[in-house]
Symmetry: D2
Subunit: 240 residues, 4 copies
């Protein structure tokens, strides 16, 4: 049972009746629901809670953190961002969704601008699987089709993914690396593109499959925490 | 429960009393034993069986194939090699051990010579973990130490691994990329260096942990089999 | 001055008046011309020459081999393929164009099926640059647009490129990894997608820029040839 | 002619007579000298100059920035670090040497802690080439041997390099990924391990070859600067 914390900025939901109608329990509520149904131990946290709901206790009890933000990236406290970064390097998984590409935490972990092209034009997105062996693609067909989504287009200013899983085709003529896996320290990161707030994307079964798969993929694993700093020799030096 | 077939050339065991003493049930027997204890459904197959024990039925019922060979790479039938390659591209995991670096199947899947430096000198090997987030390293400390092993040294003529997990230090002055993960088609491959026949390496607990982890990592996953060939358009062409 | 050999199957040019009209000197002739204008020392070779024009002397005097084939992959002699592979591992660059994805040499070096989706429907291709720092993209804008090309679609069954430079958008709804760089041994390989024989693609200035850049990128470089095989220790073993 | 700026903290040289004796013109002076001899247009800059010698004019006129720092990483102004990061994303090459692994600029571009093991014990380092096709290894033998160097050991907390070129062996029993290439935005980064201030490492011919090669490798290339932000469709949307 993986301990998941779904973090959402939760601002569009307060301001925009369209978003409210689509996601009456918030985007975090919609995501938490299907992750719970998949058998995970799921909590949510939002920007306006104290410490954004990401206290040390919460972070230390999180295996995988899901991140959705857009309007208020700048309001996320730098100290919290530093703590999340450290937790990722220590082994916590991080699933960054859609406009989270511009979040402080994603930019900090990538080291690049994470900038891209974008357009809101009710256009079709077709997400092709370019690595059919990847666990995040488990159970999918050859592509995911979303009738209406926001467009994100290349160049997407990220480090080349350690594993590129999805590439999107957009009706308006662009492509996008929309499923990107990274190892950082003892942690894993996955970026998944879709999920504009004015579309019911997180109710799409294939999108739910990807997010559910990603949670399993991102759960902590690996060797013991590395030891850093001054180190005694393991072999005699200059003994010859 | 993962269906594992442990394939062994099983020739040193027939010829060399030292090897026979260390591995009375063969290298395949020793590996099968701890994989069974880990809860997998394990079978073995050897070179001198009809079709090397790798009939279509066996291959089709194998999730992960473990491969140990050395003396008799050339005696492996090309047709069997082709079938194993196809099964990997179709999703079967392949764990290549030690001198399997020069097997027909590994060379075919890598596309390179897979050549390296080597030396038998009873020397110490220390296998460092360079990707502590990788599932194959799960439960290990910072390194694995083997008091006596054969040396394999760089340059190792392989494609850069999709994920480099281990790097070996050798007493005699060399290094080696000794844990290498690859995606090929719908399948995954892992190469793990240690395991010279005259040392009891496969009884080492850490080595057993790596091989057990690798079997889980290599088990089939991912999206449906891609469709290749002529394709109808999904969108109208030239309609504007 | 880089020594380039442009190899072409040169069969469509013999059979199909459309191709003959577009490429009166053959596809190899068209490519050789702009590479010569770029200052390289260019020769051509074709399937129907003795040893396909790829004698040992020719190969040993080639820095970068350009490969175009389609109809007659099977007629290429396995022995020549083996020699080309060895030359690549020894440092020769290899630029594989379009339908060369299914050539014996490319499949051998990749270790996968190299299969894909395809369609001839006079459709638009837009080749996006996803790694703007790569020398093969030097001097290009954000994308290359080809009004009419054959479609190649994912899943493209190749190893994940060591460097993914281009991703294509197709009018009919597909995407494709259309610029892929690989290191193999001491050599480098670049696969570049466009160039169906019934379109004047190799006269497109951007396509010519890519091919010209690729030749420079693929020219031999790097350290001395590695030494393989039995190796004396560089440090005392067991001396403690 | 590549415009190189060699940046050095230049503090050990002020404090430590041993360092002063080895590098009477500073580490920057020693590096600048052989880069000038290689035909580049070389300037130097140091921490205690106004704006650390890295004014906008200097940065805008730098193709490749070489970085050596150790004692005073924290004294480097965050604003300058941000400017250097932006210049790298815009295409400037960055060569990070030795203890620069802990510089603000390297950590910012990597997104990880960049931590490692270390030891000062006058021990032998042997730097093996694991990618003999890489331009940074041009002209080298199979390895570089340094009689006495500081040890850096794994785990090195960096993103997996886009290209791993060197792996070090240390007498005391450790290994280290000591030559790491990265693409970030339109820029390239190379990390090269050796160069502790109390050893004459930068006078070693092989080390000089690597640094000289790296400067050529890191020089700006690639496509035009990508355009980010809101984008008009290139194809009609919803026209069917």
């Amino acid at each position: 049972m993986i301990k998941v914390t779904v973090w959402n900025e939760n601002r569009h939901e307060q301001k925009n009746p369209t978003v409210q109608e689509i996601y009456p329990k918030g985007i975090h509520g919609a995501i938490a629901e299907f992750l719970e149904n998949a058998g995970h131990d799921v909590k949510t946290a939002t920007l306006d809670e104290p410490e954004h709901g990401l206290t040390e206790e919460v972070l230390n009890n999180t295996d995988v953190l899901v991140w959705w933000g857009h309007l208020a990236h700048d309001e996320v406290d730098d100290e919290i961002v530093n703590k999340v970064q450290q937790r990722v390097l220590d082994g916590m998984g991080l699933l960054v969704l859609h406009s989270g590409h511009f979040s402080k935490i994603f930019k900090k972990l990538m080291g690049t601008s994470c900038d891209l092209k974008w357009r809101e034009a009710d256009e079709k997105e077709r997400i092709w699987i370019v690595n059919p062996s990847h666990p995040v693609a488990n159970g999918l067909g050859e592509y995911i089709e979303l009738e209406k989504e926001e467009m994100y287009g290349e160049h997407f200013d990220i480090p080349a993914p350690d594993d590129l899983v999805f590439v999107s085709w957009f009706e308006g003529g662009e492509v996008f690396r929309s499923g990107c896996a990274y190892n950082r320290g003892k942690g894993k990161i996955f970026y998944f593109r879709p999920g504009h707030e004015t579309y019911p994307t997180y109710y799409n079964k294939d999108v739910q499959t990807v997010i559910t798969n990603a949670v399993s993929f991102l759960a902590p694993t690996g060797s013991q925490a590395p030891v850093y700093g001054n180190a005694k020799p393991l072999e005699a030096i200059g003994a010859k």
